[in-house]
Amino acid sequence: MALDESPSPPLSSVENNFQPFFVLHKASPPRKSAAKTRRRIELSPNAVEDSPEGYNENLRFETFKFLWSRNESTIKEVLKNNNAEVFDKIDKWISESFNSICAYGKLDYISATRPYPHLDKASISTSVASHQIFTALLCTKNMEFVDDILTFVDLGAHLRSRGRYVANLTSLDFTAKNGVGGCLKSLVRQFLMVGIDAPDISILASWYTEQGNTGNPMIVIIDDTERCCGAVLTDFIIMLREWFIKIPIILILGVATTDGLRNNLSSNACSYLSLCEFTLGTPAKRMDAVIEAVLMNKSYSFGIGKQVSVFLRNYFLRHDGTLTFFVRALKIAMVQHVYMEPLSFTLKKLVQEEETEGIGGGSTLGKNLVKRALELPSPMRSCQSRENRNDYAHGLSELKRLRKLWSSMVMCLYEVGKYHKITLLDLYCDMLEPVPCDSRASDHLQLSKDNSISSYNRHLLGCFQNGGWVNRAIQIVRDMPAVELCKLLKSWEMLTSGINEIHDKVMELQSLEIHEENRQKQGMTDISKRSTARNNFSDKMDETKIKAKVATFLECMVRECMQPTESMPSNEIFLFNNVDKLQAALTGDPRRRIQTDLLESQKFLKCSCCSKSSGVLSPSMHDTSIMYSLAQEHGDLINLHEWFHSFKEIVSQPRTQAKQRLRLSPSPKKRKACQQPQNQNESSMQARFCRAITELQIAGLLRMPSKRRPDYVQRVAFGL
């Protein structure tokens, strides 16, 4: 018990950290039960592995907390940077449009708070009709809204930091029930920090003028515009337009697609908006950024193996396209890894060492740990069991180096792949698989893995057929325009810095490219104008030569340093590769779980009475489970009378008879046996029956009798 209690605190914290996730999926039961099942799952490995050694749990817990906090911070960072430039653009746009609002002239207090529209400077007649509200459409090209909640909060914070007045509204403020008053109320609450019943918009005007016309517009961010009640939103826009100059409000509407807005608003409300579209990074991009930050750039920290990554990828593409889910999955994976993997706690130390570039990791590891470490299959494979610490430490550093190499190479390939719209996620999954050239290190477990993987790959990564992505990449490099090529080389130089053996090669290639470049500088310059510029023959010649060089370089690089992670020595420390546990933890299936639990309740409540009798209904079992297992015999309609009778029969038979009833078929003897417990009265029986039925109904397994067939209940859930 203690063992499985201790994981639960981090898990609960896991849950809490992902508010957005739960905002979306709150209504749905599976998450709760998922937590339960997870705990049950972890119970077994801990019980199995840890009890012999008796590592202290909190060391693991420490490790987990340490690792995850780092991961979390990096993820947050990455996401922020991902949106940064869009935010800056929006800010720039805001200041521009605010200037063009100011072009209509500033107003003093009296004229600003006047109830009738401002008579315009631009001419004699009022030109309210011509005004359009400046509106930014922030397209989150994403159906799921979870990932973007934080984005809008960040945007608000960002703009506030620039001194704008910002209010964040959501679709809850635009309900048909409250009407315009609702959103005005929340606007007033956010800007003025006062609650006013029946607010009107003139309040905002006077408040704004009281702020003393600092050169800052008021910005209203509406998170999920598609979900707003269209009529209310329309009213709001028309109202804003009436106060256009007096209240310089700039709207930022978060939408999934552009035409979603059009369908929601009335046409004249649309014509009142002057729209400017901004696009957030696509979820795939974000995903890549996260992967790069979390899985690539840290050579020592926790990583996920082939199967898990493929599973996560499929899950991302097929089921739950949210980044939030992915991060959550990573977290769970990490939890499981830390608690299953005996040596996992060394991770913390290793990571710390990575900061302070000190090698000799194993120095502080207890002796038995090292022994244990050397019993891992992969070190066996690599260094033939000459067990001493230095070798182990050496092995670790070696491993570190290899992973560095590997990740940098993957990044290089990714650079190439960018022209091909290939996501880092796919690449990662693909590259974890050993490249055929060095598949010597593989026991049949590995083998089985491999062909399963390849079977995955064939359909997963469509473009990876015919000899893997590598050949494809080489092909791409071969016929790539020179401009792109030198760009590519630059990026490679950036990536491979720190790994000298690749780096200098890249350098020399680049030098070639460079002098190539300034040979055809003018060619380059007018490429930009006329695409047919580059057609003098000699240039073409040695350009192709260079390309060939690059290609060959890439090829040999891949052959040398793309040692598959799973064949590295002692990779188990880093790589979590247990799909089934993760999957079970992620997709708990409540309905099915309920049914199974009902059917074999004795497995859980390990009572003495019905532990031995497997699958036989005994009166000592819980009523509901009896009822449900009885219901299995019926079709989708259950006759209540029959059901009740069979129920009564089972409950009213004495315990002792339970076994005999198995063997000998119904006999007068049993009949007699049935007579004697008749004394326990009918009504209590019926009461139990009814209670059981209601419980089943509440569990969502039954539907109560309908008007047409009053004596039949309907089964809702079938088959496991």
Partner: protein, 424 residues
């Protein structure tokens, strides 16, 4: 220049008269058998012989119910000053009993220099009312309750009416309830318990006859000779006016006016327009042209105006809807209209076939200017193009509109003609 000033002055006088109904209806005060005299008699008698009474003034709007009542009350108040207290309620404001009683209490306090507490509850107010009734009855004071828009009081549970009329059953109290309503069946709305306590005196105010209108015209338009207007101007003005009133063409105009609506209120609106344009053209005198010009501005045909304001695309949509209506579809919505529009376009190769969005905008314009409307107010969940709509203009109106619309594409005319054949 004196002329100018005089004209402006005269216009002011006339406008004041027109905006003051009690002046307009004061001419009826002379005749003995007019509603005025009857009402006067009823109320004054009940005041003098200290009895309870109740009367209903019924008649369409603009026949001077309220005006006559006000005249009567004025006179009564100045005849026996402290004997009467007038409490005025309006169904539009005080239809719910609670605030009606509150208002009564407020006015009573105002009359008798008592201080009125806003916090008083319903029961407090009703008690207060009863006691006041008793007090006034003992003091031989009459309280006159004027219930304007009487039918609105008759909605709901009629607790107010009941409590009033019930209180009036006692000998001590001394009150008159005057109900004013434009529903001729107002007394049928009363509950039994209320009706049984209600004296069924009714005064009917009917739209006035030609002669009355004529008298009203003279009464209103003739300038007073004893004003500070220059005499000669007044003389010429009145002379012109009398000549005009005698004129048959003018009579025609009045007839056409009263043909649609012969109430005094209507006439007053007509005169107001005429008078306000007095100085613009035809310097300073009322001429036939002015009245001619005033006529159409009152008799408007908003649907046709709306049609004139339509763009050609909107006309297309209307015609398509009309075609669908003739086909007797059970219901029409934007999609079916678009289908029809497309088919029209395919058959006749019209020059203007526009994108769906633009059509939707036009469709919304039409809804906005109330030429078409949604069948029901509910299905807000559904998007606009699926909600059933109905046409608010007849085939004839549409036909007229198309005819009067300049540069209307001939194809629309042809379509309409065809529809006309199949429709009629």
């Amino acid at each position: 220049m004196g002329q100018e000033k005089a004209a402006v002055e005269a216009q002011m006088i006339l406008r004041r008269r027109l905006c003051n109904p009690s002046f307009i209806f004061s001419i009826f005060s002379q005749s003995p058998d007019s509603n005025y005299s009857k009402l006067k008699y009823i109320i004054s008698s009940s005041v003098t012989e200290a009895s309870n009474n109740s009367v209903l003034l019924l008649g369409p709007r603009g026949c001077g119910k309220t005006a006559v009542l006000d005249l009567v009350l004025e006179e009564l108040v100045e005849e026996h000053a402290e004997m009467v207290t007038v409490i005025k309620l309006n169904g539009l404001l005080h239809s719910d009993d609670n605030c009606a009683l509150k208002e009564i209490a407020r006015q009573l306090c105002l009359e008798n220099q008592l201080l009125f507490s806003k916090m008083a509850s319903f029961d407090d107010n009703s008690l207060f009312l009863l006691s006041m009734l008793r007090e006034c009855g003992l003091a031989h004071k009459t309280i006159i309750f004027v219930l304007d828009e009487f039918d609105l009081f008759a909605q709901g549970k009629q607790r107010l009416l009941y409590s009033l009329l019930d209180a009036m059953q006692s000998v001590t109290s001394q009150a008159v309830v005057v109900g004013v309503s434009c529903r001729l069946d107002a007394d049928q709305l009363l509950e039994k318990r209320v009706r049984s306590r209600f004296s069924h005196r009714k005064l009917l105010f009917l739209p006035s006859s030609r002669e009355d209108l004529q008298r009203v015209l003279e009464h209103v338009l003739l300038l007073p000779t004893d004003s500070r207007l220059p005499q000669d101007y007044t003389a010429t003005f009145n002379a012109k006016l009398l000549k005009l009133l005698a004129d048959d063409k003018f009579k025609e105009i009045i007839d056409t006016l009263s043909y649609s609506d012969s109430t005094v209120g209507h006439l007053v609106r007509f005169l107001f327009h005429a008078v306000s344009h007095m100085n613009l053209n035809s310097g300073g005198f009322l001429s036939l042209e002015i009245f001619k010009a005033a006529l159409p501005s009152l008799q408007r045909q908003p649907k046709l105006e709306g049609l004139k304001d339509c763009s050609i695309l909107e006309l297309y949509i209307l015609v398509c809807m009309k075609r669908l209506e003739v086909k007797e579809l059970e219901s029409i919505n934007f999609n079916s209209i678009m289908k029809e529009y497309k088919s029209v376009h395919d058959t006749f190769r019209t020059s203007d076939y526009y994108a769906r969005k633009v059509c939707l905008r036009a469709f919304e314009h039409l809804i906005e200017c109330a030429l078409i409307s949604f069948e029901d107010n509910k299905g807000h969940g559904q998007s606009v193009e699926f909600r059933p709509v109905k046409l608010l203009i007849t085939w004839h109106e549409l036909y007229q509109g198309l005819k009067s619309y300049n540069f209307c594409p001939s194809i629309l005319h042809r379509l309409m003609d065809r529809e006309g054949v199949s429709a009629v």
